[in-house]
């Protein structure tokens, strides 16, 4: 039977077009008291557009209702592994909204935007210092574009020495999926390397794969298994001896801040996902901001524009410049400036001691979850983790027919965002659940999550249907993901 609330709920979920009433308008205008004139180019106007006809209050309610269906870190815990969904302090938004930073235009003369350029220059300097590299560019719009820029620089470096046979890039199977894609788009041939049982790079496989065609090696550190590769120094030695460029995917930099400088270990290129490590409300694909950091030998190839600082008797000046052998522009203008301001605000409000504490807290939070859920879920690598921990729901699947996905769906009923699932990939860890609590969560929040996960595991044993049919408390219950992917309905139509 239709209850009043179910009936209303269904009504409230009508799309905007289905709420349209002919002739209804959102704003009424005063009577025309000036002579009418022809539109400059009436041919540009189309009269066949199917537009919703709704009042202002209807459209405001429509979008407000939609926003309630949304989930963000401001609502609740969001342990989406490898995405680093940390709380974004509101002061960052306030700084990004300052008129001097938000109301400027990229075509303004340089002398009128010295403050903004100084901010970009300073964040380049800070990031290079934090990661231990010689220089940085913050023009990439996100991590993958940083990878692409880094691999283009690696190629430019090899070619500048007349070494045109280096085409092969090695990437462990525990790497982020964007790594092989970036390398291929930059013109390389990718060979995947297996991870050994401890989750480290398999040194024998690495030795077997190197040669004078080796262009580089892309390593995520810590890896997506949430662990530090204890073969790292051997890996670096082998790759360097073979003449390869060492690429460090810094997507998981949240585990290393103030503790390890990848540049000092021997990495040539490292990228940072500023929107992850240094806060930015992101999700659903953006908005992002990337930094690509390089060693001395790759400095000449940095993308343009690069912000440089000069000083004379009149004081300091900041300019947009083109490095001598630049790989070129990645896109228009100076990167995602608003995101850079937020990252800068996060770093400056924390200071150097605070930045180190990010990683300390992130790592201890992940290890706390590891220690409390050990025994409830399988732990493929039972060793100290870094900022994220991989569990496996294989025990629940084998014993009760409940998959990692079902656990995640049930978690939604508790108002907690599910962890990343099925990544790392099934051939690395089966039924994987990748949990990253970040540094911004209290022990109480972690305890709540741990308790909920334990209760879900208990339900899996006692009443598996609860999980198999979850979620139960959401506007939409279990979706048919296969149907949605096979026959997506992407456009509204009258029928």
């Amino acid at each position: 039977m239709t209850t009043p609330e179910r009936w209303l709920e269904k009504h409230n979920r009508k799309l905007l077009m289905d709420r349209s009433a002919p002739g209804r308008i959102g704003a009424s205008h005063a009577r025309l008291d000036v002579p009418e004139s022809e539109l400059p180019d009436a041919a540009l106007l189309r009269d066949n557009l199917d537009m919703p006809e709704v009042s202002e209050s209807e459209i405001v309610r429509y979008f407000s209702q939609l926003s309630h269906y949304n989930f963000s870190i401001d609502h609740n815990f969001y342990p989406l592994g490898s995405c680093t969904m940390k709380y974004n302090p509101k002061i960052n938004d306030e700084m990004a909204a300052l008129p001097g930073l938000s109301e400027i235009h990229p075509f303004q003369p340089e002398e009128t935007v010295q403050g903004a350029l100084k901010l970009i220059w300073h964040i380049q300097e800070i990031l290079a210092e934090v990661v231990g590299m010689a220089g940085a560019s913050v023009s990439p719009k996100a991590g993958a574009e940083s990878e692409f820029a880094g691999m283009l620089m690696a190629r430019a470096y090899h070619l500048s020495r007349g070494d045109d046979k280096r085409k092969k890039v090695l990437i462990p199977d525990s790497a982020h999926g964007t790594n092989p894609a970036s390398a291929v788009v930059a013109g390389f041939h990718v060979v995947s390397l297996p991870t050994n049982e401890q989750g480290n790079t398999d040194l024998a496989a690495l030795e077997a794969a190197i040669g004078d065609d080796l262009a580089g090696f892309m390593l995520t550190q810590p890896s997506t298994l949430g662990i530090f590769d204890t073969n790292l120094s051997e890996v670096i030695q082998i790759v360097r001896d073979a003449g390869g460029i060492l690429y460090g995917d810094g997507a998981n930099l949240n585990a290393l801040l103030g503790k390890v400088k990848l540049g000092e270990l021997g990495f040539d290129v490292v990228h940072s996902n500023l929107h992850k490590t240094f806060t930015q409300p992101h999700g659903g694909g953006g908005p992002g901001a990337g930094a690509v950091l390089v060693s001395e030998r790759l400095l000449p190839y940095l993308p343009e524009p690069h912000v440089t600082r000069a000083e004379d008797e009149d004081g300091e000046r900041f300019s947009l410049t083109t490095p001598p052998q630049s790989i070129g522009r990645l896109g228009p203008f100076q990167g995602n400036f608003g995101a850079l301001v937020r990252a800068y605000a996060y770093i400056r409000t924390l200071g150097d001691v605070g930045v180190s504490q990010i990683s300390e807290d992130a790592v201890i939070n992940a290890n706390y979850i590891l220690s409390q859920l050990r025994g409830t879920f399988d732990l493929p690598q039972d060793r100290h983790c870094k900022h994220e921990v991989v569990f496996s729901a294989k025990n629940l699947k084998d014993n009760f027919g409940v998959s990692g996905k079902d656990v995640c769906k049930r978690l939604i009923d508790s108002g907690i965002h599910p962890p990343t699932m099925y990544f790392p990939l099934p051939d690395v860890v089966e039924e994987s659940l990748l949990i990253e609590p970040t540094e911004t969560e209290s022990k109480e929040t972690l305890d709540q999550f741990i308790e909920v996960m334990k209760l879900i595991a208990k339900e899996a044993e006692e009443d598996p249907d609860l999980l198999l049919n979850a979620p139960h408390n959401t506007p939409n219950t279990r979706l048919d993901e296969a149907l949605a992917a096979r026959r997506p309905v992407l456009r509204w139509s009258r029928d």
Binding site: Y422, L425, P426
Partner: protein, 128 residues
């Protein structure tokens, strides 16, 4: 799960059916389809494309992940399963039948000798 005796198998979980002395049909095993989960997209090469043993000939996407498809042998693609463009679920439903992927004209029929029998493949699965 079912592994027909008249097929050959690879460690990458592809099956191969010998149609004639020079042509074979290739698909993925029930084990692979089950591991992948609901298949939502299959990208196959065009007719006339060259494939090589252990080389990637296409991609398969499920609700869980995107994986590569590996050719068991060297040869040329002489037919592709057009049905999979619109009904990729055939891979889940009929892995050895309507879920077939490509037909290959062999360049070296002796490569077939290196492939696994159904019994060998099941033994291999037991080690995973």
């Amino acid at each position: 799960m079912n592994y027909p005796d008249d097929l050959k198998y690879t460690k990458e979980h592809e099956w191969l059916r010998i149609e004639s002395e020079t042509t074979v049909v290739v698909g993925i095993t029930e084990y692979a389809a089950d591991e992948l989960g609901d298949v939502v997209f299959v990208e196959l090469p065009d007719v006339g494309a060259a494939v090589s043993a252990m080389g990637v000939f296409g991609e398969i996407e499920s609700v869980k992940a995107v994986s590569e498809l590996y050719s068991p042998v060297d040869g040329t693609v002489v037919e592709r399963n057009e049905e999979l463009d619109d009904t990729p679920e055939l891979v889940n439903d009929l892995a050895y039948g309507d879920g077939w992927m490509i037909k290959i004209e062999l360049s070296d029929p002796s490569q077939l000798d290196g492939l696994m029998s159904a019994a060998d493949y099941q033994q291999f699965l037991a080690t995973l």
